[in-house]
């Protein structure tokens, strides 16, 4: 089979006819199994950048893209979440069926594009057989034909078109092959007869289902969708229908049982019965039983001991790279920002405006941009692990361990992603099917130390932990950093355990996971992923954090205090800050934070860091007036020099630094995480309640742990 064949010619399409209403955009929905390259195809088709994954169900967001076809007509493509069938098991799959049956905000698409993996056509045809029953103009993109050909799998396109009754276009999305032909097929799909159910129903089944279909149509479901849904409901009775449908389903099940049929397996038997014939006629697969390279690799990677060891080594490599490879890049960004601050500062006359630009804007954004290299490297690794197919294996070998604390193997991806950022991590937990398993994961993901905590850790470690050599290349600073990460990770597992025995009691869902064949990740797809994630982070830094930096600068600058004549600059700055709006707010909450050893300046920075944790560093920078100036890296020195105005003792000691770090390990100081938890935990009142539980337990943990650290460290005589 070659991509250069002419499959749509077989359908006898006319190249001269134009779509009926060229002014209205053509709405296309893209559906398919996970691991079919659907996201890549979407990117190539529309040019819109989107994350590409190998882990089942990574596409969770609604993503739309647009292109113009040959006739100049605008085509809008909606990328539906990857799904194995239209039985709504997960929120993702429910979305797909709702859109296609016209039950969502999105109108029913004009054309359906089904992405099917040529290498796993047999399994992919299950979804295809469901989708053609919807009767929408349909095109099948037979993707990854190159990989199939390489394995000796030959698909007879003409025969497949004949079997499916829809246009089939072979594509290789990663190389952009077959895309023009796919676009042409999409623009012409409406000219062809509507597809319909491809297999014959036994009379007894048809008779049993007819009342369900009628009841569904009476509820407003289209006749085509009703035929499909009746079959779905026989397998798994639906909840969101009226009593007429329920009664019809119940009596149909009785009829089928009386006829000696199993209602639960009926749909699978009918569809796979048809699929077996199609595959027999259209697919030549000489060595389907032969052990593949992937299996040989899996003999090692899924080994109880070796597999675990390799997994831990990979994780170690990821950590090492994130922290060490990023350093030179960070230095470069830091020094160029200092330079920019100096240049810009010199252009503006001394006064409030200069202070705003240099101390507010450049300092605020600059402090965040510095962490871009780490985020890029982390997402590069996550991308490689996902796109190579290893992530699914990792979930498989981790399942046994995750299960011990009541989490699912699939919880592993959100938890690891939590090291980068809790927001995408919580969104990634959507692939966990059962609500309780999902909620338990969502609840603990923010305990994984995210990249936004890193600035806080590095600032405090750099200032207060000596770089003592411990063993080999490991020093005390690295060890403290590692223990912060370990503390958060262990806490996440422990808290999950507690949740599964209290608020979220119940059995963890058994593991069902497709292990896609290993493949070399495409550099283009990886670059897209990293660029996409990095730009998301920068945009966040550039909007929320910039705005907050400016607000904070204003709160710290006004109202203006007049320093008495002859007062030292340092003291005048201190006085100004103490009397500012920010200082007053800090004084109000100080009594609460005092037991932890935090003064009002730290309290203010903690409160302001609710915008995003990394704001803590820029707030401290603003409060101490160091960011962006020539001594941009001067914050640690300022902190060390800070003295209590009453006692004269240093404010920041190793004890304060440790307590503060431990506080940040646990505290949910991130409004974005709260917002995403509200949405993912069910939205509305339910969502807010879970977000409240999450914020509350994390604050209590943070406060208690920081207090314990202070008491224990003081008792041990540190930081005197």
């Amino acid at each position: 089979m070659t991509v250069g064949a002419a499959p749509d010619a077989a359908r006898g399409t006319d190249t001269t006819s134009a779509p009926p209403a060229p002014s209205a955009p053509l709405r296309v929905a893209l559906v398919g199994n996970p691991n079919t390259g659907k996201s890549t195809l979407f990117n190539v088709l529309t040019g819109l950048r989107q994350r590409v994954g190998n882990f089942a169900g990574v596409t969770v967001e609604r993503v739309e893209g647009t292109y113009r076809d040959e006739a100049g007509r605008s085509v809008t493509v909606l990328d539906l979440p990857g799904t194995y069938s239209l039985d709504p098991h997960t929120p993702d799959e429910a979305i797909a069926l709702d859109v296609l049956a016209g039950r969502s905000d999105s109108p029913v698409p004009d054309v359906l594009v089904i992405v099917a993996d040529a290498l796993h056509l047999e399994r992919n045809l299950y979804l295809v057989s469901q989708l053609v029953e919807l009767g929408l103009p349909t095109v099948v993109a037979l993707n990854q034909v190159d990989a199939a050909n390489k394995r000796g799998v030959q698909v007879d396109i003409v025969e497949l078109i004949h079997e499916l009754g829809v246009t089939v276009v072979p594509t290789v999305a990663t190389k952009g092959e077959g895309i023009d032909r796919l676009r042409r097929a999409i623009s012409r799909a409406h000219e062809l007869p509507r597809p319909e159910r491809r297999f014959d129903m036994p009379t007894v089944v048809r008779d049993a289902l007819a009342p369900i279909e009628a009841a569904l149509v009476a509820e407003g479901v289209s006749p085509h969708a009703a035929g499909l849904e009746a079959l779905l409901h026989i397998t798994a009775p639906a909840h969101d229908h009226g009593p007429a449908v329920h009664d019809a389903v119940a009596s149909a099940r009785t009829k089928l049982l009386d006829a000696g049929l199993n209602p639960e397996s009926l749909e699978a038997e009918l569809r796979y019965g048809w699929i077996t014939g199609v595959v027999h006629r259209a697919v030549k697969d000489p060595d389907s039983r032969e052990r593949t390279t992937s299996d040989r690799v899996d003999r090692v990677l899924l080994h109880k001991v070796w597999g675990m060891l390799i997994f831990l080594m990979l994780m170690g490599l990821v950590f090492q790279s994130v922290f060490s490879w990023a350093a030179p890049l960070q230095d470069a960004i830091e020094s160029s920002l200092t330079w920019v601050g100096g240049q810009v500062g010199a252009l503006i006359p001394e006064g409030d405006l200069r202070s705003l630009v240099v101390d507010g804007v450049i300092a605020g954004v600059g402090g965040v941009l510095v962490f871009l290299p780490q985020i890029a490297i982390l997402f590069l690794f996550i991308g490689i692990l996902e796109d190579s197919g290893y992530m699914a294996r990792a979930a498989f070998i981790m399942d046994r361990y995750m299960r011990k604390v009541g989490l699912h193997g699939r919880s592993f991806i959100p938890l690891v992603s939590g090291y980068a950022c809790a927001v995408p991590a919580i969104m990634a937990s959507r692939t966990i099917e059962r609500p309780r398993d999902r909620l338990a994961t969502i609840m603990v993901v923010p305990l994984m130390s995210c990249s936004a905590r890193l600035p806080v850790y590095t600032l405090l470690i750099g200032a207060f932990v000596p770089a003592l050599q411990v063993a080999g290349i490991i020093d005390l600073q690295g060890l403290v950093l590692l223990s912060m990460y370990l503390l958060g990770t262990l806490a996440a597992l422990a808290v999950a355990f507690v949740f599964r025995r209290t608020l979220l009691r119940g059995q963890t869902q058994p593991l069902i996971l497709e292990l896609p064949p290993y493949r070399i990740p495409s550099a283009r797809a990886l670059a897209t992923t990293v660029a996409h994630r990095s730009s998301l982070f920068v945009r966040r830094a550039g909007t929320v954090i910039l705005a907050l930096s400016v607000v904070l600068w204003a709160l710290a600058t006004y109202p203006k205090s007049v320093a008495p004549a002859g007062m030292a600059d340092e003291a005048a700055q201190e006085l100004q800050l103490a009397n500012s709006f920010l200082g007053r707010a800090g004084h109000v909450i100080e009594p609460v934070m005092r037991p932890l050893g935090f003064d009002w300046k730290i309290s203010v920075s903690i409160v302001s860091s609710f915008a995003a944790r990394e704001v803590f560093v820029s707030s401290m920078g603003t409060i101490y007036g160091v960011g962006g100036s020539e001594d941009g890296a001067g914050l640690p020195e300022k902190l060390k020099a800070e003295r209590d105005p009453v006692t004269g003792a240093p404010v920041y000691t190793v004890v304060t630094a440790l307590a503060l770090m431990v506080f940040y390990v646990f505290a949910l100081m991130c409004m974005s995480t709260v917002a995403v938890t509200v949405r993912e935990a069910g939205g509305g009142a339910t969502g807010w309640r879970w977000a409240g539980v999450q914020f509350g337990y994390m604050f209590v943990l943070a406060y208690a742990a920081a207090w314990l650290v202070r008491v224990a460290a003081t008792a041990a005589g540190w930081g005197a």
Binding site: Y84, S85, D87, H89, L119, H120, L121, E122, R123, Y126, T235, A236, N262, E264, S265, E267, A268, E269, Y272, I275, D285, S288, R289, S294, D295, D298, R299, L302, H303, K304, A392, F396, I397, D399, R400, R403, G409, E433, R434, Q509, P510, L511, I512, L513, E514, L515, P516, P517
Partner: protein, 81 residues
């Protein structure tokens, strides 16, 4: 469905290299639905690719990993080697 006669056993009892016909998918509705959609339904043939921890199955040309608990709830009749 009863194309082979023999002792039925839990899928978990099958070892690497074994082939079997599914006779009963005994887990919860949702999981059973998903398994059936993935090709693991009553009457389907599966082969065990790896039985060292959980089960790695070949079902309809796809590698499917399932946990031990789930593999225990699926009843099969082993096919002759």
């Amino acid at each position: 469905m009863a194309e082979v006669c023999g002792e039925s056993c839990p899928l978990m009892a099958c070892k690497t290299g074994h082939r079997a016909v599914v006779v009963r998918v005994g887990c919860d509705g949702t999981e059973a639905c998903r398994l059936r959609a993935l090709g693991l339904y009553e009457g389907a043939r599966v082969s065990v690719v790896d039985s060292r921890n959980g089960l790695l199955l070949q079902v309809r040309g796809v590698r499917l990993a399932i946990g031990a608990a789930m593999a225990a709830s699926i009843t099969v009749i082993p096919l002759p080697q």
